[in-house]
């Protein structure tokens, strides 16, 4: 196995771990079912995806990741295909398109990009589910009880996990410098 394939396997495992962590986090810690109307949705996989997108330059590879993981996410967690499958690749292409603006990725930039991506993703899901009548929540309830707490929680977690995750994704992507 050459180094490129090995790095790609590493990236896929990283994304898979983040994928499972989403469900387990929700199940183990944020399972506030019986009381309270705040809804916190852990989005660790989106973190991994944003960090990797900031570092990978190959747009075709990005699209493949987006579509494959979007499909798995939709099928396993939502039971409806077409939410993450479409929104994730869109987010990734969007980030890829504008990342030339940033000279060097640092925590400030990446935090704000993650914030925008998360807002876009959650609002997109809300709009699509609302159109298909999967939910009857109104916009203000969505912003107060779902979007707000989700953004807050995920921002804090992103801040805490930034250094290890960013170093890991640096290591998982940047192989060209050593090999050349």
């Amino acid at each position: 196995m050459n180094i490129k394939t090995r790095k790609i396997v590493g990236q896929v495992i990283f994304l898979l771990l983040a994928f499972y962590l989403d469900g387990l986090m929700k199940w183990a810690f944020l399972n506030n079912m019986n009381t309270g109307d705040f809804m916190i949705l852990p989005q660790i996989m989106l973190m991994a995806i944003v960090l990797l997108t900031m570092r990978i330059d190959d747009r075709r590879q990005l699209l493949t990741y987006g579509i494959v993981f979007g499909l798995v996410y939709d099928s396993y967690y939502y039971g409806i295909i077409g939410l993450y499958t479409v929104l994730l690749p869109l987010i990734m292409v969007g980030i890829d398109h504008f990342k030339f603006l940033f000279v060097k990725a640092n925590i400030g930039y990446e935090l704000s990009i993650y914030f925008l991506a998360l807002t876009f993703l959650q609002s997109g899901i809300y709009v699509l589910e609302r159109l298909l009548q999967q939910t009857s929540t109104n916009v203000f309830d969505f912003i107060t009880y779902v979007l707000g707490p989700t953004l807050l929680w995920n921002m804090v977690v992103f801040f805490i996990l930034y250094i290890p995750l960013a170093n890991l994704s640096d290591w998982l992507v940047k192989y060209r410098r050593e090999s050349k």
Binding site: L16, Y20, L21, D22, G23, L24, M25, K26, W27, A28, N31, N32, M33, N34, T35, G36, D37, M39, L41, P42, Q43, L71, V72, S75, Y76, Y77, Y78, G79, I80, I81, G82, L83, T85, V86, L90, I125, Y126, L128, E129, L132, Q134, T135, S136, T137, F142, V146
Partner: protein, 287 residues
Amino acid sequence: MQKFFSNKKLIILMVILIVTFGLLAVTVNIRDNKETPPAVQQVGNDVVSIVGGVFAYPTNAVKNASSEFSDLYNTYTENKHLKARIDELAQNQAKLKVVQDENKKLKQELKLNGTLTDYSTINASVLSRSPSSWQSYLTINRGTASGLKKNMPVMSGKGLIGRIIEVDKVSSKVELISTNNELNDKFASEILDDNNNAVTGVVSRYDSSSGKLVMENVNSTKGIKKGQRIITSGLGGRTPRGLYIGKVYGIKKDNYGMTNSVYITPAAELRNFTVVTVIKSSVSGGQ
């Protein structure tokens, strides 16, 4: 027209829109109308859930350990309370045994093969909960291979928690009773009161701000008191009779003063369990 087709970005956008809505519409329809999802999706979900088990078991172990730790605090008061009840329990158990035997014999005499109260159970452990706002799903590690079917009711240790909404070969999704999906959260139920006149209704809503289940279409509110128990009535056809839902919390009139709703404190605490029980009804009326 020429110009339109030469604009590549516009076409891509159009294709994305069509694909999105096509996929969504098809999958929602399949979920609502078919017994099982398409084979590809089943295989995918199964593979993901089997691998997910590797992460789920340690998580469940930690969860169990932490809940045991918090149980330790309550042990003394609980023990006192339980001691008071234990004599009563032994007596009731003996009585139950006799009555069950008698019931079995009487059923044989009448040649009744299955009644609404007959069911068998399958245990399954929880793999994850979906990180989504409106699909309150749990993924469990049993599927059609263990005889599960769509729409079977699911209990945790204490009471009813939901219904199966999607079955794959070795995994399935449970929709929790606290969902606000209009199609799937209704259970025909009845209130057990002291003098045997059953009050029936439908548990049809979850009030998320107070954490109570709401039972509507109640035929009369006479004699309903706080603390009375509510069970499934088996009249819906898909759920057997006698599954424990919760206790009466109070009665409220709706905004127009027309109908009464009974608020129920759910028996199942949807936080501290890692194993669920799927109920297989012997009388299948819903087919």
